[in-house]
Symmetry: C2
Subunit: 620 residues, 2 copies
Amino acid sequence: MAISLRHLIVGSPLRTAEQVHQRLTKAKALAIFSSDALSSVAYATEEILLVLVVAGTAALRLSMPIALTITGLLVVVATSYYQTIHGYPSGGGAYIVAHENLGAWPGLVAAAALLIDYVLTVAVSITAGIVAVTSAAPELLPWRVHLCLLAILLIAWGNLRGVRESGTLFAIPTYAFIILFLLLILVGLFRLATGSLTAASAAPLPVDIGGSATLTTLLVLRAFASGCTAMTGVEAISNGVPAFEKPEADNAGKTLVVMAALLATMFLGITLLARALDVVPVEHESVVSQIGRQVFGAGSLYLALQAATALILVLAANTAFADFPRLSSILARDGYAPRQLANMGDRLVFSNGITALAVLAALLIIIFGGRTHGLIPLYAVGVFLSFTLSQAGMVRHWQKTHAAGWRLKAVINGVGAVATGIVLCVVVESKFTHGAWIIVLLVPALVVLFRSVQSHYLDMRQQVSLQEGEVGHWSQFGVAKSHKVVVPISGLNRAALEALQFSRSLSDDVTAVIVDVDTASTERLREVWKAWGFDIPLVVLDSPYRSVVRPLLAYLEETDRREPERGLAVVILPEIVPARWWQNLLHNQTTLQLKAVLLFRQERHSAPRVVINVPYRLQQ
Amino acid sequence: MAISLRHLIVGSPLRTAEQVHQRLTKAKALAIFSSDALSSVAYATEEILLVLVVAGTAALRLSMPIALTITGLLVVVATSYYQTIHGYPSGGGAYIVAHENLGAWPGLVAAAALLIDYVLTVAVSITAGIVAVTSAAPELLPWRVHLCLLAILLIAWGNLRGVRESGTLFAIPTYAFIILFLLLILVGLFRLATGSLTAASAAPLPVDIGGSATLTTLLVLRAFASGCTAMTGVEAISNGVPAFEKPEADNAGKTLVVMAALLATMFLGITLLARALDVVPVEHESVVSQIGRQVFGAGSLYLALQAATALILVLAANTAFADFPRLSSILARDGYAPRQLANMGDRLVFSNGITALAVLAALLIIIFGGRTHGLIPLYAVGVFLSFTLSQAGMVRHWQKTHAAGWRLKAVINGVGAVATGIVLCVVVESKFTHGAWIIVLLVPALVVLFRSVQSHYLDMRQQVSLQEGEVGHWSQFGVAKSHKVVVPISGLNRAALEALQFSRSLSDDVTAVIVDVDTASTERLREVWKAWGFDIPLVVLDSPYRSVVRPLLAYLEETDRREPERGLAVVILPEIVPARWWQNLLHNQTTLQLKAVLLFRQERHSAPRVVINVPYRLQQ
């Protein structure tokens, strides 16, 4: 039943042979790979203003210089990635580039940063998308967190079914967003120039907010660090080069240039409008929504803008749902992550990775109460860490390959690495107490985790692998050992009888054991045992603390000690199998506990032992 | 390790013999049993006002008549319970009274209503307690839900350790609350009388709120229904009669009278003050806090009032943590609920019930976002349902026992039953769309659940029980059957070897099976198998959909069909047991899945089968 339910929800299984690949035109590729980067203009300006406003609304005048600095940085980073595209036409994610060129440790640091960032991409994009919705429909504000969780659920569901990254489907909201955003900037600037829109009419709140903090350098750096989230997702194209039409690298490079130009234009335009209209960030409405309402009026163009914003942010989250499982499956294949992350599910997608990402992002959203703002300081650290490692890896790459013009290329990537490295330091320094410390702790913790998983798999392979000479005794396997068999029972019923019956087919040395939790019924059992003529010895164990498991374990250990040369006793557990799944909640709690303890117990005298489940099936 | 961690947190186990009972003086009993009832004055008035204010602040004048009606009802209910105390000196909860006198169905309805109410008591009391805190410290308001969850965690933890209902510990906050509340009312009325406090100075909000709805009868009934939450917990003393000092019933009766008088005084007093001071309910501060701030000023007396309010509400929640597990253990013993709810844990408390209550209450609080108001319509239904059934049961009780003066007693309980029955109808009717429908659906659902659990246990007992004649074949058990044995392996390693070795001690008919998910490595295995001279046949299964479980199941079914007379094949699973618990996440996912499917599978040809786990232990 569970299986058919799953088929209904995620669709019936696909054959391994059904895996297909699709090549993308530049226009479609722009739609697919740029949603993450472009969508960040929906919140980046607001994050700058939110930091500055702490020093009073007068401090907001710094937003434009900060945005210009970030745009300069964007040019440097985009140039660097342009080179990565040509250096790694087979797809150069930060993990691959760093792992190949800088070694395992930097590679794992990049992987940790990327995994964290994918989770944050989902959390930030979804919350920002829902802010776009609640800005237009404030009555939905109390359901903010619920809406976020619903959106994650839908995206995860789509990905579990295996939505292909369909270019056409993605193109509509992405291009709608680009067009509406550019229109917003053009109309806004035009109306400002012609005087049909003025700042005075617009200020949504009294101008005496904040001012409590003075405008320190730290505050400016913090605003810069927040604004740097505008650059998240710039690396997406370099990961996806093989998906482009031939010549892949050239087409990908051109697409990157277009994307960077669009991003710069939109980011600067929206920041300029926010300044010109004296927009102050408020809790209940996004900055973009405030600008849109003033420029377009509260009509259908404004609603279309909000809808497109929400949709492109959802697409951005969807990107992470492709990237996170892909990276974790690569890590799993390299032995750094649990193997089940490398398993393709029924629908040819990495189901475990998708589920893990959805759960982690949902938790983040719940913890932060559906507020984008709290997540931003965590976001920028990982982004710039992977930028820096990826660019530094490219410098080594050029040094090693000595491709044509490698010196210039190495210098360009070197500039990129240094620039993003400095920004990384700025972000960590200025945002440390605001949440960046979490990432600073989490990245090394993840790297240690990757390493211990790997060393565990290596150890295990060594321990379980067999050499030819070692199996020389195979011919002796046929000799039946006479196992010591123990059958714990809770009373004399059909389930116990089945287990006892099976035990006799296995050995002549069987002992039935009952834990005395109810003296009267134990006494009755003893009498029946004798009266019905069972020739298997029945042992009764005391239990002063009402536990069933502990006296049994003690008895087993004692049995093993008495005849150590015969090895560990085999345990046969009678198990009642109900006819309906929910009835399992009503049975076998003790059996389950006992199985877990027998199998996983870590203590001295107790190796794990052979456990045999003999089921007895109920009819209704 | 898990065990020693548990001992550290909840304390080391207690022997069954250590169970003790404590007798309570009237003063201590009042503290213990009245926290639930008295604490409800912290929110009942506010709930009345919240409903009325929808029709504008002018409608608030109806709060006093409504409060007087509720007080009248309280007198009727308290008189009824006074009789219950003398009729059931051994403790007469609604489930026991209804089950004994009205039959199984009404008993189960009462039990369902009570269980729901205990969950709501925890959720409502904790949220109201945290409101008392955030009213005094508004900066904590964003952490409302977190604080509620923390409080539940602490109470659950205390109860899992087995806090005795210590009279002394409980007496301090309860009496502090009573004294501060009475003082608030006295000082408030005195200052109003002397004119040093006036309504005009007090109104915290402009008086133009609401007015959108007209003052309909339905609205008044709804306000009455909300206010009836003041009566929750009145039944507590009648449940706890055996805990009183001798003569138990007399002392319990006197305590009930004192409690009812205090409750009536405090409820009427606070409603009167709210009226006189024109208090309007607001989102961020409770009505009691508003009154306290105006009467006492924002000094230490006010803070003490808020602290005592928060503490008594926590105690009220704690009461439910004693009652819910006790009732569910009674239900489990009667076979209506899963047996594990009847198990006393290490610390002589019903740990499973405590955990279940904490989880359910926490979920409710998360769903309702830590707002008391949303939970109130759900609360009153269960309370009055159990009141009605309990009183109706008492009428039957007097008719059956014919105790001295039974006619009068029956009439008094009859009046109680009718009055609470009418209120029940009013509550359901007026609050139906506001959430009461949830309870109207939930109670029958729970009753059906109780019944199906019971019928399942009865069916099972019949199916597994043995009669003497049936075990006549016992002497034949010794004959070793030659089982068909199947050993699924994932490759040739030590774990697989252990399993194959064990299989040979069980039978001569062993087949090793591998599912071909990686053709290259399967081919290598085939060669090694031949080269190393294994005489067990190796079967390779195809898997076009990458599933390991499905081809194996198909193979097992085919094996069974081939020789049906020899019974089902026995499955031996090699299992890798890691040295550390977290490493389990890295292993045996397929084995686990296979075990679950083999044991719980419901389909036609597949009975559950004997599954043998042969562990191979890793050293690090």
